[in-house]
């Protein structure tokens, strides 16, 4: 356990000294902040104003057609849909060096000869990446809580669906990072590792997007719907927790880490 925590602390510190953590967190804050305010918060408050005005003009015939503003329903799912696209760009930055750099610098040779198992090494590195990612989840929680502070009296955000959305975002990130780890383990070139991770995540997103099209039908549609990470998280963003989605994310994460471990071990038989 000492070895695991030592490795975990080193990885976490390296994210800040390198300084990938700052790059990732700043980019995420700027992009997500901009989308949140410009794309969601302002239109939402506009809508609220319009709705209030309609209510004042009691006889307005449009009255019945304009539903009451519901932050959780209107904003949360599409906000997280947008944020998950940012993840596609940022996860490769988080994972590209994790193992590739050790291979390139040769420091992996020492890891292989220390009394620490490959699994411990991978889990420590994964945990560190997850901690950095969790900071973005906290930022998202702040976005969800913000309307509560702006509007007097609060009561805008429904907490259960909001927590489900945060869970979805966390699971999506955790699975994406584990997929990135595979590519970090198979190459010693960080750019190749980042590019492959990006390509895979983009593909899984495009597939989910395509599955919603009418032109895709039958088996292809079912397949596309079920493999797409973002499709799986959409339900959670809406506040719908399906066991199948939770199992899916769990399997992807564990499976990807298992492949990473196998790939790390392969030097033993490959020579």
């Amino acid at each position: 356990m000492t070895a695991f925590f030592a490795m975990f602390k080193r990885e976490l510190a390296h994210y800040f000294t390198s300084p990938i953590a700052y790059v990732v967190l700043i980019i995420f804050s700027i992009l997500s902040g901009w989308f949140y305010v410009q794309g969601f918060l302002l239109p939402y408050s506009l809508y609220c104003q319009q709705y209030d005005m309609m209510q004042l003009q009691q006889q307005n015939p449009m009255m019945g057609q304009m539903p009451a503003p519901n932050f959780t329903e209107l904003i949360v799912p599409s906000l997280f849909g947008t944020l998950s696209i940012i993840l596609i760009f940022l996860v490769p930055l988080l994972t590209m060096r994790s193992i590739a750099e050790e291979k390139k610098e040769g420091t992996i040779e020492l890891l292989y000869t220390y009394p620490i198992s490959d699994l411990q090494v991978i889990l420590a590195k994964y945990a560190a990446a997850l901690v950095i990612f969790s900071i973005t989840v906290l930022l998202c929680a702040f976005y969800l809580a913000l309307p509560e502070f702006i509007k007097e009296g609060g009561g805008i955000v429904e907490w259960k669906p909001a927590l489900s959305a945060l869970l979805g975002f966390f699971l999506l990130g955790a699975a994406s990072i584990s997929l990135g780890f595979i590519f970090s383990a198979v190459t010693e070139n960080q750019i190749v590792s980042a590019a492959l991770t990006f390509a895979l995540l983009l593909f899984l997103w495009v597939v989910g997007w395509a599955s919603q099209s009418d032109q895709v039908e039958g088996l292809a549609k079912t397949l596309a719907e079920s493999v797409s990470l973002t499709n799986r998280s959409d339900g959670l963003f809406k506040g719908l927790i399906h066991l199948s989605d939770l199992v899916f994310f769990f399997c992807v994460t564990v499976g990807a880490l298992f492949i990473t471990m196998r790939s790390l071990e392969s030097h033993r038989w490959r020579g």
């Binding site: 000492t2 390296h14 420091t107 620490i116 030097h267 033993r268």
Partner: protein, 338 residues
Amino acid sequence: MIEVQNLTKNYGPVAAIKNVTFEVGKGEILGFLGPNGAGKTTTMRILTGYFPATSGNARVAGFDVFSQINEVRKRIGYLPENVPLYTDMSVKGYLSLAAQMKGLGGTAKSSAVDRVIEEVGLTHMKKRLIKKLSKGYRQRVGLAQSLVNNPEVLILDEPTVGLDPKQITDIRSLIKHLAGDRTVILSTHILPEVSMTCDKVTIINQGQVVVSDTLSNLTKRSSDFSEISVIVRDQGKDTASIIQSVNGVSEVNPSRTGIKDGTTKLDVSLPEDEDIRGAVAKAITSADIELLELSSRQVTLEEIFIRHITNEESGLHHADPDEQEDGLSETQKEEESE
């Protein structure tokens, strides 16, 4: 302490090492000698559990490197050839990490780190970032890292490569000092390094052990008087044939080192069971040649090395160590008759 038996490692169809067998006793320093690509690193990596051998057995500190690799790893210190370090960390930070990776925690960790920092002479550098250190100091950090778990066995892969002469001397004396009662395997292709630091030598070439013996046995021929060198001022006389004519002289070769202003240096092989140096001296002086020097010649490690490597390449290698000695002198004869 280290027993290696018939170790073979194949990279696909290529055998990196074939039937490597040697033994190192407790407290001994073994020089693992061979040209680049001979299989030194491969052997060391097997001993450290980096990868398993294709076949054969190896035991380190009483534990099998295949079935009990974790026990082995706890008891060894390893310094890979390219000294891989986390260069973004400080010396002390890195050594703490290494100590924790080797399972030391709390006060055991801090005292181990302080101990190795002092041992390798890094006290005034301990707060520096490793990337700001010179190659020589990095090498010390690498050594410190290998020592931090107070290992019984030290495995050092070319610890002096790429250093300047001063640093090389420093690291060598450091290794000798650190060895203490530890068992050390030190790979190198620099021969003086072995004569300076090691007790035993194993020479490996093209994946096979060519010779394995103590340093003194290797550098000393069977007796002190069987190999001599003679320096004469012969003014053009054929000293070689005069010496050759002495009863019992097996070979006379003009030495490649130093023929100047009328003097000639000759390497002479004499029988091992009979001291005929006096007869040789007499023959030279009676032919009216000035005898300037007659000394017994120590075979240098370079000669042994070259002899064994060429031996190997000309296909005269024999697996049996006794036959090896024969093969050795055959080649030497060949070499000297050139």
